[in-house]
């Protein structure tokens, strides 16, 4: 009696496995034909997007706050008071921005504020850390975020040496003006990490990043691999520094001092 039941169960198991394999096979057999996806014609293209910031032209908190306003408005970044805040671009002094301490600096530099944002590093430690590839490096050098996949583990925040990332500790819509949202861009929800995205959504429509547009020429944005781009021209003509270069992350944001 036992043996017959055992054989019956074995047979049922094999049959079920066979059915699963058959249906999986038939599903794979259907090839996707017809619709396709491609890049838009008006999208701006580059091999390595970079930004050059002339810190003399945008060296006050007010001027940098104007950049932040444009950025945060374009991307529905909430305005949260306190230490669980979110910021994609913000102003900070020399000591906070750079790792070149100098007890006897020139007075202009001492008072100057610098716009800090994600550096979209070429060798990004946050991308190495992310366990789901929710943050990943695009072929054009931009370090992008996929908010659909982020599990909110905040490993990328620990990995970033520049403090460029923010976490949605609470529902961001509680701190957004719901009547003046940018309806062409989503918000995020609580539990995901966010940061500057070099305006990939605007680049796809042929527009410059929001902060660049709002900067009146103080910020330049272009392709580092194109020797004739504006950024390369500026880098040839001016002395520039980057944040924490000794860490080897190869930031793509250059500061003209």
């Amino acid at each position: 009696m036992n043996n017959t039941r055992r054989n019956f169960l074995k047979f049922m198991g094999l049959a079920a496995a066979g059915l699963c394999a058959a249906s999986a096979g038939s599903a794979l057999a259907v090839t996707a034909s017809g619709p396709s996806v491609k890049k838009g014609e008006q999208a701006l293209k580059a091999k390595h997007w970079a930004m050059v910031i002339d810190t003399k032209k945008v060296g006050t908190k007010e001027s940098i706050d104007a950049l932040a306003k444009a950025c945060h408005q374009a991307h529905n970044v909430p305005n949260i008071p306190g230490k669980q805040n979110i910021k994609w671009i913000w102003a900070a002094g020399y000591e906070e921005a750079f790792d070149q301490p100098n007890p006897y600096m020139d007075e202009g530099l001492e008072k100057r504020e610098f716009p800090l944002l994600c550096n979209h590093c070429s060798n990004p430690p946050c991308v190495r850390a992310c366990p789901t590839q929710a943050t990943f490096q695009r072929p054009d050098g931009i370090v992008a975020m996929d908010y659909h996949r982020c599990i909110g583990c905040r490993f990328c925040m620990a990995a970033c040496p520049f403090g460029a990332r923010s976490f949605n500790f609470m529902e961001p819509r509680l701190h957004l003006d719901l009547t003046s949202l940018n309806k062409e861009f989503p918000t995020r929800m609580r539990g995901v990490v966010e940061k500057c995205n070099f305006c990939v959504d605007r680049l796809a429509h042929g527009k410059q990043p929001a902060c660049v547009e709002a900067s009146n020429g103080a910020l330049a944005f272009g392709d580092l691999s194109d020797a004739n781009s504006e950024v390369r021209k500026l880098l040839r003509e001016h002395y520039t520094i980057r944040r924490k270069p000794s860490l080897g992350t190869e930031p793509s944001v250059y500061y003209i001092i």
Partner: protein, 398 residues
């Protein structure tokens, strides 16, 4: 064998009921966290990992500690550990359950946590951490449960349990190494960016873990008929002492490198922790308590007369556990994130709600350990192994 956990003394039922109450009550706070987000914790943009992850780190150490019993028993045939092996494995199971619990309560989108498995990412240390923790849980469940079941049936252990036990020894070293790799590969956090962090983690695990295990075993001896082999306990205390010496030594190595080189990146976190930085000195009393407790615990453990004094030993172990907990469960995370990448200090302290959710996870772990230890002690009683000697004038019960 699990049915043995369903029947017990009134004290047993009271304890289980208390734990279930704690879990149920605290889960209401966890539900609040699920609905409102991690804003109920004390974490901030600058200190983005806090109490949950620090407890996870400490408990991975507890999980790895079973290897300090399993290794001498399986690799070197140290028979005096025979009755302790199952408790080491079961404690590891409880610890891993708590580790996973702390991860789940810490992530911002827990319903997406399977993404780590759906999108495997070999260059991420978190992916490997998930893998090794799941594997270690499986190993301990398989080997522990099978061996206990075989003991109960008076059967020899199957050969594959020996193979898996050998694997679990190597695996135990790997789980805490991978956890250390989470921290020691991050370029911006200078308190963690040291090759010796993995060694520190292992040394700290191998003293604090067996210490907690030994305390729980001593408690088990008080509450059941189980009696551990005295020489086994003495050897474990020796191992704990050596591991704590190595732990303190590694820490002093860090102090030397930091302050002799005078490099601010290396020094600043230690300065913040032990004497304050930029006007912030919140952790200073804790750190000096930990330092004092570490020295006192060594003073009470190194001399054999004091170490073998079984009335004093629980206190020495408790002091050691507090010292290592402050180092790993408090200083590691807060010191790692401070000073921030902007050279500022962002003070962090867990909120009450954060502590209640943590209590829920600890109660869950205590429940797992209670149930498993109850099964193990009941089986040992059933087969008459490692039992307290009965007084000569007691009659032979059936």
């Amino acid at each position: 064998m699990l049915e043995k956990a369903l029947k017990g003394s009134p004290k047993y039922y009271l304890w289980i009921g208390f734990l279930l109450l704690v879990i149920a009550g605290a889960s209401s706070i966890y539900i609040k966290q699920l609905m409102e987000g991690l804003t109920i914790t004390g974490m901030s943009r600058d200190v983005s990992w806090g109490f949950y992850i620090s407890q996870f780190t400490y408990l991975v150490g507890l999980a790895a500690s079973g290897v300090m019993i399993v290794l001498p028993y399986y690799f070197h045939g140290y028979k005096k550990f025979k009755d302790l092996v199952i408790f080491g494995e079961f404690m590891a199971i409880g610890a891993i359950v708590m580790c996973m619990g702390f991860i789940v309560v810490d992530i911002g989108q827990p319903q997406r946590m399977l993404n780590v498995m759906l999108f495997p990412t070999p260059h991420s240390m978190l992916f490997w951490d998930m893998t090794v923790l799941c594997g270690y849980l499986l190993l301990n469940v398989l080997v522990g449960w099978t061996c206990l079941e075989c003991d109960r049936q008076h059967l020899p252990h199957p050969k594959w349990t020996k193979v898996l036990a050998y694997v679990s020894v190597i695996w135990a070293f790997s789980i805490h190494t991978v956890t250390a790799f989470l921290y020691q590969g991050l370029p911006g956090r200078h308190y963690w960016l040291t090759a010796v962090l993995a060694a520190r983690f292992l040394a700290s695990a191998f003293c604090s873990g067996p210490a907690i295990l030994l305390l729980v075993i001593m408690l088990t001896q008080k509450l059941t008929t189980f009696k551990a082999e005295a020489e086994g306990v003495a050897t474990l205390a020796k191992i704990i002492t050596y591991a704590m010496c190595v732990n303190v030594f590694f820490f002093l190595c860090e102090v030397f490198t930091a302050f002799y080189s005078s490099i601010p990146g290396h020094m600043n976190s230690l300065t913040y922790l032990f004497s304050g930085f930029d006007g912030h000195a919140e952790l200073v009393p804790f750190m000096w308590t930990a330092a004092a407790f570490a020295i006192i615990s060594l003073a009470l453990l190194i001399p054999p007369k004091l170490r073998n004094n079984l009335t004093l030993l629980p206190w020495s172990l408790a002091i050691l556990i507090i010292a290592t907990w402050i180092d790993k469960g408090l200083a590691l995370l807060i010191g790692g994130f401070n000073p921030t990448p902007f050279e500022t200090i962002a003070p962090y302290w867990p909120t009450g709600k954060e502590l209640i959710v943590s209590l829920m996870i600890y109660a869950l772990g205590a429940l797992v350990v209670t149930v498993l230890f109850k099964v193990a002690t009941d089986v040992k009683q059933e087969i008459g192994a490692s039992q307290k000697p009965t007084a000569p004038c007691e009659s032979e019960a059936a």
